[in-house]
Symmetry: C2
Subunit: 373 residues, 2 copies
């Protein structure tokens, strides 16, 4: 009966009709060295199980937005691996940018590409190197965001309740509830603050009406382009020229025109200045996994709080994160360490010093130790 | 003039006339895992520079006792490597014992071999896995010991001033000064205590008239055999049969007869029971390097107390001992660790837990992880 009904009744509109996923997979983080490398950045690592963060990102939205409506932007160094990990996405929709130009040019390029196919297209921009532990709530947040962003002129981002006064993130100040229940509501956004100082961050967290900007955005492609034309006319013009030359292909035009675009983030280029910016406030269990310490918190541990290869031998050791590529590891009398062993490098780091791992990479860059980067 | 005089005057007697070195190189310590392995025990490691402990042992006595009067006892697993490290010693004098029978059979076998060549032979028995940082004083101690042991019936050992109440060593109680200055004197030995409990060890160290028994012995070969005959008649008889069958060669006789000998230490078999036992009390800068922590104390450190490969990158790290076979190592925010990386294994150990490294080896033995042993 139900089946017959669904076949005969008119199809109910989905929040994801005309929705296109734009996955940003060009990051080149240094914080998971020595596991992360230039050719194997964080999004390509399977820190938390069988799937990499990129694969998780794609899997999370697959049921909402089909792979044919998914675009992935990355760089030449890792494009082949990105394609390997995302076989369901058509290869021509996995784009290697010829130069690194931050998020605004990437997203603008994606908007033109989507518009070419679908004037009603709605873009869902998603980083590929974050963890989301509550996918069902994430789905509801995306649905609410897509519904709200269907109205031309509106920009929507997913806002995340801050769990600590992190100074490395962007904060947004919320205004009135515009729609929905408070637990999954659409709020006006009144102000952006990028990387506040520690006292300010503490104040924001205490105040309760600030959220983290997690870099997940939803607009009509046409809304974004209109905002770019008004707020970043040079960039908008450059993107138009690129679109006229073919957009994401042929590669020759991309190679010639893309590097001329302004190196600017979408937050700074558009979001901070646009009218009608809204946030979906949702507890989606988000983490950007910004350090080995953050990864440790997210991984299953044994009774002594160790993350460890099954074959490792641990004696009087607690709270360690141990990653080894096959080598037998023994730990004796050590606590709260990060121990990561790869083919060519070994890191031993106090867990509460893991924010300094990037300094190793900078040192290697200065020394020109290409093989270790 | 001086040269002419030395050619024409009668040669002055040396304390090392008729002296034979007997180097014990059969040890199979587990405390330097993963660097030490069955096929590469401690004495074959170059923990402290270019030379291995075995090479250091041989070099230390080379000027006193020539290689032709040096015997080395080891096992089949490492004989080739011992020969490689001690090229100056005639190959036939580097003997692989067909079974592990502790020190008394080894030393008895050496005594027969020496007597076969030199009825006046004096044996200087030396372990090969210790460190001696004051070789000049060591030489004087050996000279004093050889002079004193020349008198038939006397047994001499090198006694070491205890620096801590170590419970893993043997202690000897000194009686009267028999000869020489107190700083490098020959003392009567009144009593042996093997591995005292902690309270007893502390009492011994406080008392001042106790020394560590460092396993270095000097006797006439004939004195040792006489003592064995009186104190260990079965072992002495077995050694006689072996000597009659050829001693250290042919291998077939050794293989047949050696395993039948009693498994017993020279301390227990002879020294604790013999008359006329003396000790040379000398500050020779001795260490048996019984753990990674002990090795750390003996190795040159950088300003932050780290022992490290030059290429390693250390940040906010102090007091670490880092050994790596070529792999790049980065340490961040870690203190007082032992980090040892080999081709197939990695140890990360709190320095003050390094006495537990042997437990890893026992675990590997129980698991049958032959490759890691």
């Amino acid at each position: 009966m139900a089946l017959t009904a669904s076949l005969t009744q008119p199809r109910r509109a989905s929040p994801f009709d005309h929705a296109y996923a734009v996955i940003l997979a060009g990051g080149s983080g240094t914080r998971f060295w020595p596991l992360s490398r230039r050719k194997r950045p964080k999004q390509l690592l399977n820190l938390f199980g069988a799937r990499t963060l990129l694969e998780e990102t794609a899997a999370r939205i697959r049921d909402l937005i089909p792979p044919e409506r998914t675009y992935v932007f990355t760089n030449h160094r890792i494009r082949d691996e990105v394609r390997r990990q995302l076989r369901a996405v058509p290869g021509r929709q996995i784009v290697a940018e010829p130069a690194s130009r931050n998020t605004a040019p990437t997203i603008g390029l994606a908007a033109h590409e989507i518009l070419r196919h679908d004037p009603e297209g709605i873009m869902v921009v998603l980083p590929s190197d974050h963890v989301i532990t509550k996918p069902a709530i994430f789905h509801r947040a995306l649905a609410a965001g897509c519904n709200w962003a269907r109205e031309p002129g509106r920009s929507v981002l997913i806002g995340l309740k801050p769990t600590c006064p992190e100074t490395g993130y962007g904060y947004i100040r919320l205004g009135k509830l515009a729609s929905g229940p408070r637990s999954l509501g659409i709020f006006q956004v009144l102000q952006f603050t990028e990387k506040p100082d520690s006292a300010t961050a503490r104040r924001y967290v205490r105040a309760g009406n600030y959220l983290w900007n997690g870099g997940m955005f939803i607009w009509r492609a046409s809304t974004l382009i209109a905002n770019l034309e008004r707020l970043q006319p040079d960039l908008a013009a450059g993107l138009c020229r690129l679109a006229e030359a073919g957009g994401i292909r042929p590669e020759a035009a991309l190679k010639r025109l893309y590097p001329r675009l302004a190196n600017i983030s979408i937050d700074y280029a558009v979001m901070e200045k646009a009218p009608d910016v809204f946030a979906v406030a949702a507890d989606i269990g988000w983490s950007d996994v910004g350090s080995w310490a953050a990864a440790y918190e997210l991984i299953g541990k044994d009774g002594a709080g160790n993350v460890r290869p099954p074959a490792a031998f641990l004696l009087d050791s607690r709270g360690n994160l141990i990653v080894s590529k096959g080598k037998f590891v023994a730990a004796v009398g050590v606590e709260d360490l990060v121990i990561v062993e790869t083919e060519d490098a070994l890191l031993v780091c106090a867990r509460d010093h893991s924010q300094d791992v990037g300094k190793i990479v900078r040192e290697l860059e200065e020394k020109g130790s290409e093989k270790l980067l």
